[in-house]
């Protein structure tokens, strides 16, 4: 009797435990269907710039380093790296035994080939300008490679190694695929290329030879769904399991539905009104300050974009580890009286026809895209409306994106609703581009030698404490000059079916490796 009882007990334990495993572990052959905002364009890393393509590329390709959910930089294809004492040379020790999806070996020669290609003007790289900080690439041995920069730069990893252009593709794929290379991603990542049916779906399969943790899902199916309403219906009818955008009302509704989980987190997507200091009326500091005081930004953003964007008072995203503490930099609290006084000090007197200085009337045209950023047109209209209450003759000029970009880049604007997206909160990615003399996104041609000096120091300072101080000073200089009206940081949103398990939502990383379906 005794052995039989024991056997029965053991059998029960085995059944229960196997049942337990079956309940918590993913079943074989699982797939996750993701709605993407658009179809892919080109998968050649040096030409990837749209978010929908970048999203898929990030699942197939890898970079030498990666970001963690906490925003820290961690090893990926490079196991470790070091900076030379003069801060100009970065040496990476590469991971051994990594293979591309086509079976070719990953080593320093591939990394060298890729970055040299990204710098070659004949290759059509959109990262050539950004990567031109690289002066020389030296392969020290098959698994060690050094990048010498034109000038010291402690933000090199953010500036170069964490961009789309730093995804390392297979050299063999480049040589064998020929004209098809830009349309098939062959990388080293946890998912490998399956199929792309244009306009319909992209299928990525689990990479069984992945060097890191194996994905739990067998397959990812990425469907381009252009219309936000259609995406929501697809999610609700089980056609997709993971959605990256929806209308505000739908999100509020889905949040209350137990069949779905809504995730939101502030990201490094800054939205602001850029005031053009190169032409009147915003060449006058007092007018810029007046406009800043005249707008109740938190009220406007919360009314038009609550749940989709968070109001801010700096151009550096609040999630940045270098964002200064409140109270340590100049701000412009909502104060219409102060705004009026500043305009009067600037010589603008109220009259029947608005604000006048001699024979001039205070007129402002606010350039706005339509749908490029969340509620851009609506926010612009409210801003203009508020400025009108102050007596400023304000008009919103809503434009098609390409025409808008043309006007803004040529400096043909007085004020413009603009955004700056980065994949991390590294402050130089914002300040050097937006406000340094000659910066890539410095469309209003701001120039302040004192600020340039601070930003230069920010790129060579090793200590995090020192950098924090420098960027706090930069924040204050920008705000004191009132070059911008900072508006918001857009949130990163994901809505998943409640069957989706193991998903962690964070600003720096979208990772499907630990995800499985209940």
């Amino acid at each position: 009797m005794q052995p039989r009882r024991l056997a029965t007990l053991l059998l029960c334990v085995a059944l229960v435990s196997s049942g337990g495993v079956a309940m918590s572990a993913p079943a074989a052959g699982q797939e996750l269907v993701i709605a993407n905002e658009a179809d892919l364009t080109v998968l050649d890393p040096i030409r990837i710039q749209e978010a929908p393509t970048s999203f898929v590329a990030g699942l197939v390709y890898e970079q030498l380093v990666r970001r963690t959910h906490e925003g820290k930089i961690a090893p990926s294809l490079a196991e470790r790296w070091k900076i030379s004492p003069d801060r100009r040379t970065w040496t990476f020790t590469l991971r051994k035994g990594v293979k591309f999806h086509d079976g070719s070996e990953f080593d320093a020669s591939v990394v060298e080939w890729h970055f040299k290609r990204a710098l070659d003007p004949r290759e059509g790289s959109v990262f050539r300008g950004q990567f031109s900080v690289i002066e020389k690439i030296t392969v020290l041995d098959p698994y060690t490679i050094a990048f010498t920069l034109t000038a010291p730069n402690v933000a090199f990893l953010d500036f170069v190694m964490l961009t789309n252009g730093a995804f390392i593709p297979s050299r063999r794929a480049f040589e064998t695929l020929g004209a098809e290379f830009p349309f098939k991603a062959v990388g080293t990542g946890p998912f490998r290329w399956g199929q792309w049916v244009q306009g319909q779906r992209v299928v990525l399969e689990r990479n069984p030879a992945y060097w890191g943790t194996q994905p739990k899902l067998e397959r990812l199916v990425i469907r381009p769904i252009l219309d936000a309403n259609t995406g929501v219906v697809e999610l609700e009818t089980g056609g997709v399991h993971y959605l990256m955008r929806a209308n505000r009302d739908d999100i509020t509704r889905l949040e209350k539905d137990p069949r779905f989980v809504v995730y939101r987190v502030p990201t490094y997507r800054a939205r602001f009104i850029e005031l053009n200091v190169s032409r009147p009326p915003f060449n006058d500091l007092k007018v810029r300050q007046a406009v800043n005081h005249a707008l109740n930004v938190p009220e406007i953003i919360n009314a038009l974009a609550s749940g989709m964007a968070a109001p801010v008072d700096t151009i550096l995203p609040v999630k940045s580890p270098f964002h200064p503490a409140p109270g340590t930099y100049t701000t412009y609290p909502f104060n219409p009286e102060r705004a009026r006084a500043l305009l009067a000090e600037a010589g603008w007197q109220r009259s029947a026809g608005g604000l006048r200085k001699g024979d001039q009337t205070l007129r402002v045209t606010l350039h706005s895209p339509n749908g490029r950023y969340f509620a851009d047109k609506e926010i612009s209209e409210v801003i203009c409306n508020r400025l009108q209450t102050l007596g400023i003759e304000c008009r919103v000029r809503v434009m098609d994106w390409s025409a808008f970009l043309d006007d803004v880049r040529s400096g043909r604007f007085e004020a413009a609703f603009l955004g700056w997206n980065q994949s991390s909160g590294e402050p130089s990615l914002f300040f050097d581009a937006l406000v340094a003399t000659g910066g890539r996104g410095n469309y209003a041609k701001y120039s302040d030698p004192a600020l340039d000096q601070v930003l230069k120091e920010g790129l060579i300072a090793f200590s995090e404490g020192r950098r924090k101080l420098l960027y706090a000073r930069a924040t204050d200089i920008v705000n004191r000059n009132a070059w911008y009206v900072p508006l918001s940081n857009e949130l990163k949103i994901a809505i998943t079916s409640s069957r989706v398990q193991g998903y962690v939502h964070s600003a720096p990383l979208t990772d499907f490796v630990p995800v499985w379906m209940k």
Binding site: G124, P182, Q198, G199, L226, T230, T237, G239, D407
Partner: protein, 313 residues
């Protein structure tokens, strides 16, 4: 007959040239620089200039247009600025889907439109007539995207009968057929409404003709009088409109394709226009214009076949 076809085909050449020139000029006149868009928001001026040279956008307009025509004559529609893929491949990958959607919508609209039109004409000023008028007015006035969303809510969300969006596969499969039903209804409804109104008025006019009175006085059944003797003549103007509607369906597919994530030309054209992808827009416009010209040619031929008077002229 062949002479007629050849003459019509030659007449199509200036139409196609005009369409391509128009597409080219409209895009060139629209503000926005494709080189800037390709280069990205964060590119430097030097990079933008390099890209402009690489794309050949630094050349004078007439040279750009002539080069385009030269390539078209050689069967090459150029390369997409946005993706670098051959425009011919981009169009080949998507055009069949737009055509299948347009044809499905046309079949649906002709069937529904003619039935509703005949019913309204044979029973004028009755509940059938008023009902058909009301449905037709609603059909014409309803925006396609809104109708699409309503259909999606009803058939996909509440009833769960049809997939919400996407193309389920080839049309001979159940999944494929199920996936085209809603987009075809959404796209075809305004055409069905127009065809029904036209059939009604045209048939009403024919039914008043002397030969119809003669047919009736011979003692023919009303069904035979309407379907055999009157409808054939009444459908002559409808044929022209059906041809024109196919063009409208190809154009209207842009919105329907967006709503239903249908992988056709509409989505391709919208993306190409917003990114100032000149070669793709020009190529797509040329293909759509060619189809339009061919359909009109077919309509002319059918017309000649149906109405002998046209041949004699």
């Amino acid at each position: 007959m062949w002479q007629y076809i050849v003459r019509k085909a030659f007449a199509a050449i200036p139409v196609l040239l005009g369409a391509s020139l128009l597409a080219f000029l409209i895009l060139q006149l629209a503000p926005g620089d494709p080189a800037r868009l390709v280069a990205g928001e964060q590119a430097s001026e030097d990079d933008v200039e390099l890209i402009r040279q690489r794309l050949g956008l630094d050349r004078p307009l007439h040279i750009q247009y002539l080069r385009f025509l030269q390539s078209v004559a050689a069967g090459d529609l150029g390369r997409s600025i946005r993706t670098g893929r051959a425009v011919r491949d981009e169009i080949t990958a998507r055009f069949p889907y737009t055509m299948e959607l347009a044809i499905a919508s046309l079949l649906l609209s002709v069937t529904l439109g003619v039935i509703a039109g005949v019913l309204a004409a044979v029973r004028p000023n009755t509940v059938y007539d008023y009902g058909a008028t009301l449905i037709a007015l609603t059909g014409i006035s309803t925006p396609t995207f809104w109708l699409g969303l309503l259909l999606m809510l009803l058939f996909a969300y509440y009833l769960g009968w049809l997939p919400a969006s996407g193309r389920g596969g080839p049309l001979w499969t159940v999944a494929g057929l199920a996936s085209i039903i809603m987009p075809a209804i959404a796209l075809g409804t305004p055409s069905a409404a127009i065809i029904s109104r036209l059939t009604r008025s045209s048939l009403l006019e024919v039914l008043r003709q002397d030969y119809v009175r003669t047919a009736r006085s011979k003692g023919l059944a009303e069904r035979v009088v309407v379907l055999h003797h009157s409808l054939r003549n009444a459908l002559i103007p409808v044929i022209t409109v059906v041809g024109l509607r196919l063009g409208a369906l190809l154009g209207g597919a842009v919105i329907t394709e967006q709503v239903f994530s249908w992988p056709g030309m509409g989505t391709l054209i919208v993306t190409a226009i917003s990114s100032r992808d000149y070669p793709t827009v020009q190529g797509a416009m040329l293909v759509v214009a060619t189809v339009f010209v061919l359909v009109n040619l077919a309509v002319d031929l059918i017309y000649a076949a149906v109405d002998p008077r046209i041949r004699y002229e």
